[in-house]
């Protein structure tokens, strides 16, 4: 047993460090490329550290014809509005299913849960036609409206509100506060932490979405970052402007990284809930 101890620890650390390097390596390359000239990137050098570090790629973003700042703001608008709507509507739905007795609530619950078994692929085409029919094509609403609720989070909010003490609420009810009043004045303020968890994951989903943005946004001025980056990479036939593409990719990660560091607690909480579903 003593023998095993001796080599077991270093082996474990070796596995962890190797995997950490495997994870970090592509990111390090991207960051380093964003400080390199186009010529150095395509020169095929293996050095992570740029030979002639330059800020030109970053400066270019704010000058010339680059639409980057536009795309960045579009992404912010969509992600923020979409997240706000989700947090409010998912909580309302969860609260109704957990705390309000009304006819058909069981049926509604079943209707909601059944949608979780449906693969999103089959909805792509009909959703596109509906978006087109109601005139939302090429608008931010096309991305926000269909995704304004999320069944997984309605379910998680329901579970959360079910464990809620009914005493406080009953006291408020005797004072004549309505269910809606209880929800906005008592339930929501008490669930700040789970709301933050919900918001972080939903924001991440909106921020990184590619498929819907690619399908619905046709005007280059309305692109979100992921679609814009892809367009930048593919527009120049034959030659990819790797310096631009990789710099865009690096900056697109910054807001999420900041969120991840600041809201780490909520990320971890969300993943715990995911496993317990």
């Amino acid at each position: 047993m003593k023998k095993e101890r001796k080599w077991a620890r270093p082996v474990l650390y070796a596995i962890l460090i190797i995997y950490a390097l495997v994870t970090l390596y592509p990111f390090l390359w991207a960051v380093s490329a964003s400080f390199k000239t186009f010529r150095e990137i395509t020169g095929g050098g293996a050095s992570i550290i740029p030979k002639q570090p330059t800020l030109a790629n970053y400066i270019n973003i704010f000058t010339g014809t680059a639409k980057f700042t536009r795309w960045f703001m579009n992404s912010v608008i969509i992600a923020v509005l979409g997240t706000l709507l989700n947090v409010i509507l998912n909580s309302m739905g969860g609260y109704a299913l957990a705390q309000i007795e009304f006819k058909g609530s069981k049926l509604f619950f079943g209707m909601l849960m059944a949608t979780l078994t449906i693969p999103g692929q089959v909805l792509l085409i009909p959703n596109y036609l509906i978006i087109k029919a109601i005139g939302l094509m090429n608008s931010f609403s096309a991305l926000i409206v269909p995704s304004a609720i999320n069944v997984t989070y309605i379910f998680l909010m329901r579970q959360y509100f079910m464990s809620f003490s009914k005493q406080v609420e009953e006291a408020a009810r005797i004072d004549g506060v309505s269910k809606a009043g209880c929800f906005f004045r008592i339930a929501l303020p008490l669930s700040r932490s789970i709301l933050a968890t919900q918001a972080t994951f939903i924001f991440l989903g909106f921020w990184n979405d590619f498929t819907k943005a690619m399908l619905y946004l046709k005007d280059i001025n309305k692109f979100t970052l992921p679609v814009g980056i892809q367009a930048t990479q593919s527009q120049t036939s034959g030659v990819t402007l790797w310096n631009e593409t990789l710099t865009y990719s690096v900056i697109s990660m910054v807001p999420i990284l900041i969120m991840y560091i600041v809201l780490n607690k909520y990320f971890m909480q969300g993943l715990r809930m995911e496993g317990e579903k």
Partner: protein
Amino acid sequence: MKKKMNRNKLYDHIQGYTFISPAIVLLAVFVYISIVVAIYMSFNEVNLFRWTFDFVGFNNYKRIFTEDRIFKAFSNTTKFVAVVAPMQTVLALILAAVLNSKIRAQKAFRIVYFLPTLTSSTALTMIFMFIFSISGPYNTIGKALGFVQEATNWLNEPKFALKIIMCMNIWSTVPYYMTIYLSALQDVPASLYEAAEVDGANAVLRFLNITVPHMKPITSFVFITGIIGTFQMFDQAYIFSNGSGGPQNSTLTVALMVYQYAFSLLNDMGLASAVAIVLSIVIIIASALANKLNKSEKLYS
């Protein structure tokens, strides 16, 4: 008093409906009506430009089993699922178990490992495409270490392209599942491991006899989520091939082909809908099978 109760009840009903209606309306339109539309379209030849629907019976479904390109897409996707879904699950479990064994700087490792989960598939695919492009580090390092003879644009190699996407997908999903495992591992009583250690079971045996059986429900969740996700892989294949599924259809997944039939000049939404429905049925069957397999194994252990 009774009257007041009734009025309260009525308010409850109204408030209940108000609170749940946004979700119900959106799901009704974008899920339930959409499914009906998808099924309807799969039995029609749809021309979007002229906006015509012609009923063709099972014709679209028959084409799925006769056209080579569709077969290729299903075979690519099956390969992709067969490699990626098990790899994700196993790697995630092993990494979580290693991280859980009283490691120093556990938090630092977790933060690093989680990075790919935070990154959009666009940014990830860009980075990987660059690495395997003609001037990318894969060539440079490969030549230095001898596993690459001649600098190649690997993105254009039909035998290589899907493998790059597989690696990228595994690499980017493992940390997410690992974190789910890691939080579940906190619930396994430490005394079990200690007792096994006293009995002389080494780390590998402890992993196989304690960790693996305890993680079974999580494994089932991770594996099925993986199957559902990988069968529908779209973003990475689209970005990688700029929507073409090339080189030589090697990155053509079913989801990408659905997109091509529906939204490109192929203008064949009926066939696209039929393919999407078949894919959904495959996914539902595959995840049901995986679930059953996991449950039956439980009986024996």
